[in-house]
Symmetry: C2
Subunit: 127 residues, 2 copies
DNA sequence: ATGCTCGTACGATACCCATCGTAGTACGGG
DNA sequence: CCCGTACTACGATGGGTATCGTACGAGCAT
């Protein structure tokens, strides 16, 4: 009411992400320690692209999903950008690889993901 | 009172640890996502030996320390054995390395581990 | 035995957090 | 212009958990 300027005026909606220096290891581990979030991260890693929230089919409501994405963003695991009505989510793999080498990769590998990244070329796995 | 058989009768005190198959990645990550516990794990890694609870100098009470050790044990990160009045804590590095290769190592490295003498020993490292 | 140290159990407390529902904003299309 | 889709914000709720204090059990030393 009367103050529609809630989020940020105009179309330049911006979300604040932590800078690499602000990304804490405990925060990353905590973010990854939730089954839902780990699943999200796995899907993002497999897709190796930016996915809108709506492309995730998880057994939770949208509110909860928003919450999880926020945790992932605030912990520095993903970056989010608005695009039209959608919000694209992308893993911050390289930044994390520089900060905490091997952590994300090994967790993804342990979680059943094949680090897709890699070789990308010959992968063909796909479960 | 009147039932002193509280903990376990006799001296055969035993603690139940999860088998490798029972160790869940989320549990490990969650255990490591707490600053106190991460610190404990780092110290254990640096010492590369079994340490009694009392050898940790953390800004929490003994009760809390006991709690953290229990979380670490139940998540499968450490193993505990009684020895006299002390309880020795050891990292389950190899088991974790088999289950989730690289996870513990990279987290320790990211946490600033360095194994003290680190320098990386030139080649011998890697566990 | 007595006492000391090490660790545990239990209860209490306060905080964090995953989840939901509802209401609302932002954007694009008929 | 109105509506539908995508996501958010807010409040509520229940469960988890980090913390403490106190009381206790187990083993060792004197």
């Amino acid at each position: 009411m009367t103050t529609p300027v809630n989020t940020a005026r105009g179309s330049g909606r911006q979300l604040d992400h932590p800078t690499p220096a602000e990304i804490r290891l405990e925060g990353v581990l905590h973010a990854l320690s939730d089954p839902m979030r780990l699943r999200i991260v796995r899907e993002l890693a497999e897709a190796d692209a930016e996915l809108p929230c709506s492309s995730f089919d998880l057994p939770v409501t949208k509110s909860t999903l928003t919450h999880h994405f926020r945790v992932l963003r605030e912990s520095g695991v993903v970056q989010q950008t608005y695009r039209g009505t959608a919000k694209l989510n992308g893993l911050r793999r390289e930044e994390l690889a520089v900060l905490y080498p091997g952590v994300l990769d090994s967790v993804l590998a342990a979680a059943g993901d094949r680090t897709t990244d890699s070789a990308a070329g010959s992968a063909t796995d796909r479960s």
